[in-house]
């Protein structure tokens, strides 16, 4: 079970969190034209990288904040965690 540092609460066990997927995906802006292909990429396509992955976790049984976690998908090493509005490196 992972041990995730919530920037709001501190170190907490994984079972307090819900996984939220790739944190680098940007939702297309509202009221802007977008091609079918770009929209499909946003809705459906995600990379599944081996290694460093910036991803979202929702501290659902804690502060209920969405946070960003930089994790190695093969070793589970967590390098850094960020608040939702914090800039990532």
């Amino acid at each position: 079970m992972l041990y995730i540092f919530c920037p709001h609460c501190g170190l907490r066990s994984q079972n307090e969190f819900a996984y939220g997927g790739d944190a680098t995906v940007k939702r297309p802006e509202l009221n802007k034209e977008i091609s079918d292909k770009d929209w499909d990429n946003f809705v459906y396509l995600r990379k599944s990288p081996r290694g460093k992955h910036l991803e979202l976790w929702h501290h659902i049984s804690g502060c209920r904040q969405w946070i960003k976690v930089e994790r190695d998908t093969s070793t589970h090493e967590i390098f850094k965690t960020y608040k939702a509005d914090e800039l990532t490196e």
Partner: protein, 998 residues
Amino acid sequence: MSQDFRLNNIGMVNRNKKISFTFNGKKYFGYEGDTIASALIANGVHLVGRSFKYHRPRGFFGVGVDEPYAILQLERNNERDPNIRATEQEIFEGLEVKSVNCWPSVNFDIGAINNFLKMFFPAGFYYKTFMWPPSFWYKIYEPFIRMAAGFGEASIKHDKERYEHKYEYCDLLITGSGPSGLASAYAAAKNGARVILAEDKPRYGGSLLTSDVNIGNQTGTEWSEKIITELKSMSNVIVKNRSQVFGYYDHNMLVMSERISDHLPKTQKYLPKQRLWYIRAKEVLISSGSIERPLVFGNNDTPGVMLSSAAKEYMKVYGVLVGKKPLIFTNNDSGYETAIEFKKNGVNPLILDTRKEPSSDIITEAKNLGIEIKFSYVVVAAKGYKKVKSADIAKISDNKKDLSNIENIKCDCICVSGFWTPSIHLASQSGNKSEFNEKIDAFIPKKSKQKENTIGSANGKFTLEETINEAFDKGYEVSNKITENNNKVSIPTVVEKKSTEHDKFWCVPLPKGKSYKRFLDFQNDVAVTDIELALREGFRSIEHVKRYTTLGMATDQGKTSNLNGLQLVSDIENKVVPQVGHTTFRPPYTPVSIGAIVGREVGKHSKPTRKSPMHEWHEKNNAVFVDAGVWLRPRYYKQGNETLFEASKREAKNVRKNVGVCDVTTLGKIDVKGPDAAEFLNRVYTNAWLKLPVGKARYGVMLREDGIVMDDGTTTRISENHYHMTTTTAQAANVLSHLEYYLQLVWPELNVNVVSTTEQWAGAAIAGPNSRALLMKLFPNTDVSNEGLPFMGYKEADLFGIPAKIYRISFSGELAYEVNVESDYGNFMWEKIIEVGKEFQIQPYGTEALSTLRIEMGHVAGSELDGRTIPHDASLEGLVSKKKDFIGKRSLSRSAFTKPDREKIVGVVPLDKTTSIPEGSYIVKDPKAKLPNPKLGHVSASCWSVEYDNPFSLAIIKDGKNMIGQKLFAMSPLKNKTIPVEIVSSHYVDPEGKRVRA
């Protein structure tokens, strides 16, 4: 039966407490502190089971977790507990155990015929024998395998025992209380670290309990007693016996199973049977020790052949002799310790040492004691079927290839020692890649992967002095890193006998003309010939050899077999062991009961049950409940002998005719607050929200980004910047997460906060033509007329002194209101509604009537919004704004969602007006069409329309709009029904929606 093999003056069992138990129905006695194994051996019982494949007789091989043979079935309190290791289970008064894997009895086993058919059971026999013809699988092969295989029978009854889970955090977890565990725990605890010390056996001390050593002028046992007593008294230390750390998971999370009352006769009511500990440790010291390796020779699985360390432990810990004419077969000095122990207890052993001319302190001591030793000697084969009676022994040449002077000697047990294998399982589970150590012919952990260090014999350190020094240093070093304290305790001096090197020899060659089975894996019956065959057949990777031969795949995970298997593969392949590599160790280290893993989360406890504040009232009024997510909701209120169908029809009719009240507390409620709340709702919902006035409610539909309907519900503007959102019961939690996602990550610039208020409000839906009259009596000071409180209006009011909120919304399609009060007043509100409603013929109604009412009105719910439908499919396209953008809008213009014959919701009525249509039925044009019959769609919900007194269903079918008026068929292959139906509008009752606005 007398305990013929019990010694008088040695052992740690409590001789003042005699305990009786039965084994295969026969009564035996032992003492408190005995295991089943030690008690049976004391009684001279060595035959306890049959082997997995050949059904050969099985006795005891070890004395702890490594035991491959003595797997028994325990019966207690009329419960069965399979897969119990006799070497670990302590006896208690009234314990009943029996053998497994033998029929009709352990003494006469029909399956043993397999032993004589062994040419048909070679490596991979499962893959070869049972492959052809495929039709034989179900009727012939599978039942045969099932009957022949397996260790015991699980109970099919509900397990009444209690299992607990516990989460714990510590600075340092130490796995094993042998010399290294004790020393490191002591050093770390004295340096202020919060320490957990776990021991899988009942007694602390590990090898110190059985070895003849001296630490700080005390015997090993005295020293360990002193250390453990002091550790127990320290507030920063948790010491646990009967506790096995069996899994090392990510981020230094380890899991331990504690056997709390497995050794007690009757579980006290609140005493758990086992407890599972989830331990998050800053650092871990793995001090799990090592396991003796067997030597491989002919019939080395005969009962009476056992590990020499086990024989020693049976004597020193349990005061039990495993035999009275022992043969010690060893390739190292460990065997001598056992021999000396026999001698001290008045039994004359014979030592066969594979080495040519070894010399060490302990060999000299054995010689001085007059113990007979034969060097360069081996056991060729054990003789005897159900118990060792004699052994063929032989002199072995210096190159270890040739046998000479073969002779048969009498003996009643053969104690083998093929040196020691460090228990590196936990280190391996942590991700630590092990390395082969030539000096000890075994793998030891390489580089720490997580925050773990392996110490003592688990790390290949086999002298006590080395172990103690390393453990004290590590305990200090690790604790210093965490506590930054510098309290170093002094390391005691260690006195032990010096031993010399072991012999690399481990497998005795077959004498000419003999074909004895030489076993490697005792639990899965894997012999030398099986590995040889697998290699001949082309298997090379050790992982493949393992799976093909099942070497190391039994419940003991090859604790005694893996290394000998690797040795054999490398010998045949002319490689060295490190080139062959070893298979991966995975948790659990020892079998864990399902009960412990599940803990308290069984049955109704798998999730908490939620009840509304009116629950007790429902109970008192004969409500029959139904699970709605985690909530319990009244399904119907039973009157007399009513069936569900009758009751729900009565309740629904009463709503249409008079007035009904339904507990809607379970609906999800979310407060949405902030200056940008309107803008936010406008983006979340498909319809327009910017112009909703204060005091008004609106129905809204929200989508996922892929265009699929996520949820629906009404949201009310309570004040300028305050909205009260309702969600369906099932989606409440998901909707909250969804809103938080957009507010925190996508549109953080919006100044809005959301919070769940589901638990804060109790809700009652009052529906039916009499509902306004009732409301006027409930709220005499509030104008609830059609003008004062129009459809989709909202008002705060006073309910007999209690603040209440009235929403004029309707799910039933009738004139209806929802009244909310703070949860604590829920029951008060409910009772008032019932009391005042009497004169209006009020009746409570449950979810079944609620469904009927919404279905015949064509209102969609979870069965239509099933994660596959877009607004159009549920006839909600009128709520989709063309002007503004919102979550998921772009997806609605994708081609599949815009095609003209897109599915749409319709109503379905059986032509005979009597046959109910099963939910899930297909709608088809031609019931006799060739299979697979092209289906138009499916029936999502069915009810008995109380308005028209005939069955009515909702269905989502292709091109639904143009299907209205057509005669089609509803087919339910499951119920074997084909029903001619007519497609009608989904708005079966009051299609203009006049009633709700009345």
